[in-house]
């Protein structure tokens, strides 16, 4: 047996050192324990008297055996090795890393919501049903839609749900359609969802403005087109000004318009997808409505639809009865369930709290200030990192490092890595794919002008450094808990678990 690593040595906490943190398995010592279980008084019969022996695993599944003290130290140190919105600006484009109000966490921490079993009958969960109905109503108002499902657990789940609604709609009309159109700037989940929705993807190029080329679109439209998936503002942060023309063209061939709501933060209370002609909209509550990303989830991806699609929504759905109580109802042509229960309920509750704090007057201010920040940053950086498209942006701006790369052999990735040493998280890089050496900044509305100025100064410094000491930038970051990691080796010599590690 390997010797257990010390749980109390804190040399991996960046405060003290730059060692690595042992895994919890390396800290494990047989016979040690943290757990305490209550006294129940239930007869403690041995397991093999309860379950036929042939079902029992003859060996123990080894987890870890650590003291509570070491458990706490381990995860506290790991937390110190992790960047987060709560530490500083996180201008990851397309991700809307805004401040997540602690108040909304507190709402979600209330046992009156948190300790309700999802299978409890409706009469015991009237509060939850009311909450979900209220959220649905607000989301419909924000998107200009007639009804919504709250089940999808993330944006991509919303996309697929939307596409299945699209499919069910066409099928209900006896209409077999084959293709869904997607601009080349789209997020990767869009084409993947289309495929899983049973459609073929037709990609259309963006024009030199960074917008949908309406003529190119018209060229691919036809009666086999089920619909189009768009974000607006699109993934380069620009508003598709010809959206009405696009909508008309698609509707003319009987197609539906799907709105990828990842960028909804830009237009909250200013323009609504429904008013632009969209039929189906998903929202990323973990973006627009500030529910925390949790290191990669949970999110929530409700889908709102226009009135002609309401009967296809997933079910069961909460609904108010004529007596003012709430019940579960399944729409007549529902595509069915898309989640094991009712969706990521605690995320939904957080989002409703956020929406209620802002209200009808506050939500547009969110969009306005998000767009203000992005445009200011774009303009401020013009000399150092030009925008990929020379037009006012919405809530995010895509800049390009083509020049720096060409002149100094310093890539967008290098700039991004170096930026972290200056106190800011990296922007999104190399997305969207259509922009060379893309750096996509989404400051969000919760960063101050001072922070934006400091960010801009940091980028200026780095751009200068690229000229005089390119290696420093190319080798960045050097001051973080680990330096650049060998991604190729991770894939080539895969070690996805501790056990694989032992085999290597």
């Amino acid at each position: 047996m390997k010797k257990a690593m010390p749980g109390g040595r804190a040399s991996s906490a960046p405060l003290l050192g730059s060692d690595t943190e042992p895994t919890i398995f390396e800290m494990s010592q047989s016979g040690r324990r943290a757990f305490q279980l209550r006294t129940t008084g239930v007869p403690a019969l041995p397991l093999d008297q309860l379950v036929p022996r042939e079902h029992l695993n003859p060996t123990h599944v080894e987890l870890a055996e650590v003291s509570e003290r070491d458990l706490v130290a381990h995860f506290t140190r790991l937390s110190h090795r992790q960047f987060a919105v709560d530490l500083g600006a996180y201008p990851l484009g397309s991700c809307t890393m805004k401040y997540n109000p602690k108040f909304c966490d507190a709402v979600a921490g209330d046992p009156g919501l948190n300790s309700v079993h999802p299978g409890a009958p409706a009469h015991l969960t009237q509060g939850w049903l009311a909450l979900l109905c209220d959220l649905e109503e607000r989301l419909c108002e924000v998107t200009g839609m007639a009804g919504a499902t709250l089940q999808p657990a993330a944006g991509a789940a919303g996309e697929l749900t939307g596409l299945l609604i699209m499919r069910a709609y066409h099928e209900s009309r006896g209409d077999q359609r084959k293709r869904v159109i997607i601009p080349d700037s789209a997020h990767g989940t869009n084409p993947a969802s289309v495929t899983l929705g049973g459609y073929e993807v037709t990609t259309i190029p963006s024009d030199e403005r960074g917008l949908v080329d309406v003529n190119a679109l018209r060229a691919v439209l036809g009666p086999d087109v089920a619909g189009i998936m768009l974000t607006n503002p699109n993934t380069v942060g620009l508003f598709e000004e010809e959206i009405s023309e696009i909508a008309n063209a698609v509707h003319e061939v009987g197609g539906l318009l799907y709105y990828d709501g990842a960028n909804l933060n830009a237009i909250l209370g200013v323009v609504r997808p429904g008013d632009m002609g969209f039929d189906i909209v998903h929202m990323n509550l973990h973006k627009t409505f500030a529910t925390p990303h949790g290191g990669g989830g949970p999110g929530a991806g409700p889908v709102a639809v226009a009135s002609h699609l309401v009967e296809f929504l997933p079910g069961p759905k909460p609904a108010m009865t004529s007596e003012g109580t709430y019940e579960w109802r399944t729409p007549h042509h529902s595509i069915g369930r898309v989640h094991g229960w009712h969706g990521n309920a605690m995320v939904l509750a957080r989002a409703l709290a956020y929406i209620t704090v802002h209200g009808g007057d506050g939500l547009p201010r969110v969009a306005q200030h998000a767009v203000l920040n992005a445009n200011w940053l774009r303009q401020r950086l013009q000399a150092v990192l030009p925008a990929a498209y020379d037009r006012p942006c919405m809530h995010e701006c895509v800049l390009t490092a083509t020049g720096i790369k060409h002149n100094h052999n310093v890539r967008a990735l290098d700039l991004a890595k170096r930026l972290m040493e200056k106190g800011f998280h990296a922007p999104t890089v190399y997305f969207p794919l259509i922009v060379d050496e893309a750096l996509m900044f989404e400051p969000t509305e919760t960063e101050s002008p001072q922070t934006l100025e400091a960010l801009a100064c940091a980028l200026e410094e780095i751009a200068e450094e690229a000229v005089v000491d390119g290696d420093r930038v190319r080798h960045a970051p050097l001051t973080t808990p680990v330096t650049r990691v060998d991604e190729a080796r991770a894939a080539r010599q895969l070690v996805p678990t501790e056990d694989a590690a032992e085999r290597v």
Binding site: L37, V61, L78, L92, G112, P298, H369, P449, R484
Partner: protein
Amino acid sequence: MPDYLPHTPEEVSEMLSFLGLSTLDDLFAHVPAALRLSGGLNMAPGMSEPDVADVFAGYTAANRATSSSLVCFAGGGAYDHEIPPVVKALSSRNEFVTAYTPYQPEVAQGVLQAIFEYQTMISRLAGLPIANASLYDGATSLVEAVNMAHGATGRSTMVMSAGVHPHWRAVVETFAAGTGHNLVVVPLRDGVTDWASVTATDVAAVVASYPNYLGVVEDLTPARELASKLNALLVVGGDPVAASVLRTAGQWGADIFVGEGQPFGTPLAFGGPYLGLFACSEAQLRRLPGRLVGETVDTEGRRAFVTTLRAREQDIRREKATSNVCTNQTLMAVTAAVQLGYLGTHGLREVATRCAQGAHYAFQELMQHSGIEAASSQAFFREFTVVTAAPADVVLRRLADEGFLGGLSVAALAGDHDVSVDDPTRSIVVAVTEKRTKKEIDAFVTAFAKAVK
């Protein structure tokens, strides 16, 4: 106007003038005027946090929570387990909560290592070498599993036990509309899947549940044999707590394990966010949905973790991807790593054992009373199904009046005509966790005996 914006009016003016604009509206000048919302949102104005707290107090007052007013005997993938304060304290650390997907490993070793530890734990509990970084929930994990089977075999028929949770079956059905998969549900006889009745050919996956949703611990040998005969993948959906003491999916010969990870430190939370567990054999690695964290080194040779095999993912493969999952349930995976770290090898076994002990005690006591019968004669683990003299919804309502969430009605879960039990409208699935005391169980049994009259 309550909000979280930092900008002072002066700063807004300065920023606008830097842009050559005079009002915030000017920022949207290029948005066609006809599209712009003229009257504003039809929504009440903003309210301060304390005012909103009052609104939410209204919601919570209209619920009956298991923490206070109902003793929970309901399960079905959502269990009332103890979550110790230390687990809450660690999993709610804001560095974990407010981080994004770990795209920049240099500043994300915290989340990455926690996921690596999580993957290891799930892999061990599944008895399979690969586990991903999480999926949305148990149901959507199963969807990904059948999609993986389709990818592996090129076939589209999925043979699924009626013992699989009805909601999971429903979700698979929903997504099959897009993928074109064909679902064959195999009925139960006396609580056990009638695999012998399967006539389908060209099968991609054989899907079993262990224990099944009625609580029965089915022998998976016939399922494994069927899968082998058909050259299909065996998918096992399992209770991850039971997985600590029962034979692992890997030991049964499964190719894929899926499960609902809620019992690992996540509260009941009205059904979400939960945690989709997913593990598989080495052979399926390149088709793995979602993210995967792997170990590697940094430029100084220090161990480091990073998301790997990204080439499978939708952001690279686009329309050729076999899964579209992007945001997953990382925080719940981190929470599971903390909770399993807390319980450890013996703690989790002890929890599982106590669940089984409690369930068997409750079952025995219930069987003493007329009007309550076992739905099957089979062995069960921590959940069992009873057939009641009175309709299930009536019984559950009466139990609620006595302070018990008495279980889940099969009719409510699966509809009135499911092939898993004889009479869904009189069948109740009862679950017991390590939290339930003898006193609570005794009171529950007494109330139950009265309720079925």
